[in-house]
């Protein structure tokens, strides 16, 4: 198993931490992982993105030309990374604020209405976990248990009361993702 993923959106959407939790969950399962952020000025308002690789084998490059899966949370990210998904690969996008939907016919395309759902459920802070849930529904490369362990490891103890809310978000994401 090897999955090469780009996660991209606006700074502040939790793109980097979603990637970190995914990488951490991979580590919990003894897999090889890399997490490579675009740490440039684009974090301030433009697109923030992170490349996450989870693999059974040792990982060579943390920098990729093409991805198996692109998780795209705004229009600029969709425009930028749609051409870089491997044929037969997957795009997951949040429909919020998307004017031009993905057009490639050689990909598996999924929409997840997480922004609106999280807002309705007053769970905006777990928006990124909802997206992660949607991804894991399609590609269960790590278990929910490992994700929860990863969250527990990376959240300070005073925030452990938020763990159930995160799990709820993950499961909600699994419910609301749909094929286009």
């Amino acid at each position: 198993m090897k999955e090469e993923i780009i996660i991209s959106g606006f700074g502040g959407q939790g793109v980097l931490s979603m990637g970190k939790i995914l990488a951490y969950a991979g580590l919990m399962e003894g897999k090889e992982v890399t997490w490579m952020p675009a740490y440039g000025p684009e974090q301030r308002g433009g697109t923030a993105n992170v490349t996450v690789i989870v693999s059974d084998e040792k990982i060579s490059s943390p920098i990729l030309s093409q991805y198996d899966t692109a998780i795209l949370l705004n229009q600029p990210s969709l425009d930028k990374f749609q051409p870089k998904v491997k044929a037969g690969g997957t795009i997951i996008y949040d429909s919020f604020g998307i004017l031009e939907r993905p057009t490639r016919s050689d990909l598996h395309i999924f929409e997840i209405d997480a922004m609106n759902t999280a807002a309705e459920m007053k769970m905006m802070k777990t928006f990124n976990m909802m997206i992660l849930g949607g991804f894991l529904k399609l590609h269960p490369i790590v278990s929910i248990e490992s994700v929860m362990k990863a969250l527990k490891k990376s959240l300070p103890e005073r925030h452990w009361n938020l763990l159930p809310m995160n799990e709820e978000a993950i499961r909600k994401g699994m419910d609301i993702i749909k094929a286009i």
Binding site: V33, T34, S60, S65
Partner: protein, 361 residues
């Protein structure tokens, strides 16, 4: 027995944790992207409460390097870290340390230049690091990690080499390795050396006890008598020759049966590895040679390599620096081309494959 947990962290964080664990006595540094996590992690870990390691945010890079000069002169394991423009400011201090034979560790998490340049990754300080960026005939020992694990492992190795040869050592990393997170197993704890141990292992050090037990030690790079200064330089040159003979480190992958070989270090070697794997999958016999010590440079090994390949592609994230060392080592016996991106752009595997296609033509 101490549990050695597999952790997920950034290269910069690994440097900080490794420093605390390898008996480092002091860190002196000034924040700069993309290496600020080194200082931040040390501040969060508060090693002064555990191992007694001192951590100081200096007022500038010039101050940091001179604090290292002072600490190293006392036989202490001291270090600093910075990124390219900050390391440029340290060159005077580095030349003084090399001249006075003071050990110490400098970590450069490179970003694009020249000048303030960009905060994105680059490898364009290769010449500065390997030639000795300050004045005079000197060299640093330069290690180039290509993973978070090596960021952790090279800290102790750099200190050991630095003290063995009484010469400043540099870990030459870049924004990719500094910022990426990977699995890492931190090195086992090693206590800081006691005053007695320092006095025994570093008889040259200024430990504050000279008048009682021995003649005072003097730490200086200044010598106004040219005859004496020449002898001192010749001594340094002999030392550098010994380092070149004994301390070359490298990694070779698929080089035995290769028609073409990529030579790359640090993050460029990781990206090149992917390019190599992709070309190998298509049946192309491509190898990868990675210098781990950039100085001393693996000259003999590259010379040998050049004798059985059709061409060499040097991949480095600059406009062509290491390529001159590779050409000289290969004695211009085969076509050798360079590929790199500039200004903070990191090449991707496809671009490297394209460059290889060009070389083959």
């Amino acid at each position: 027995m101490e549990e050695r947990e597999v952790l997920l962290m950034k290269g910069n964080e690994a440097i900080a944790h490794a420093a605390i664990r390898c008996g480092c006595d002091g860190y002196f540094g000034y924040p700069i992207t993309p290496q600020s996590e080194v200082l931040e992690t040390l501040a969060a870990e508060k090693p002064w409460e555990t191992t007694g390691m001192v951590v100081v945010q200096a007022e500038s890079e010039t101050a940091s390097i001179n604090m290292i000069y002072g600490g190293g002169g006392c036989g202490k394991r001291v270090m600093t870290s910075s990124s390219s423009p900050g390391v440029a400011l340290m060159q005077e201090g580095l030349a003084y340390m090399a001249g006075a034979e003071v050990p110490g560790l400098i970590v450069n998490v490179q970003r694009g230049g020249p000048g303030l340049g960009t905060i994105q990754p680059s490898q364009s300080d290769y010449n500065q690091a390997t030639r000795g960026g300050g004045n005079g005939d000197y060299h640093l020992i330069v290690l180039a990690p290509n993973s978070v694990q090596e960021m952790a492992d090279f800290v102790d190795m750099a200190f050991e080499l630095s003290f063995k040869y009484r010469n400043p050592a540099m870990i030459l990393s870049d924004g990719v390795i500094g910022q990426m997170m990977e699995k890492v197993v931190l090195p086992p704890f090693k206590p800081r050396r006691t005053e007695e141990e320092i006095a025994k292992e570093c008889p040259w050090a200024a430990t504050g006890h000279g008048l009682k037990s021995r003649q005072p030690n003097v730490i200086t790079s200044l010598e106004l008598q040219s005859e004496v200064m020449e002898q001192r330089n010749l001594h340094l040159q002999r030392k550098y020759k010994e380092i070149q003979e004994k301390e070359v480190r490298y990694e070779a992958q698929h080089c035995e049966d290769a028609d073409y070989v990529i030579v790359a270090f640090g993050s460029a070697s990781r990206i090149s590895q992917k390019a190599m794997d992709m070309m190998r999958e298509r049946g192309e016999k491509v190898g990868l040679f990675r210098p781990i010590t950039l100085w001393p440079f693996p000259e003999k090994e590259i010379h040998e390599l050049a004798s059985h390949v059709k061409g060499i592609l040097v991949v480095e994230i600059n406009a062509g620096m290491m390529v001159y060392d590779v050409r000289a080592a290969a004695k211009y016996s085969v076509p050798i081309e360079q590929f790199g991106r500039l200004g903070g752009i990191v090449p991707d595997p496809d671009e490297i494959i394209e460059a290889m296609e060009k070389l083959k033509k």
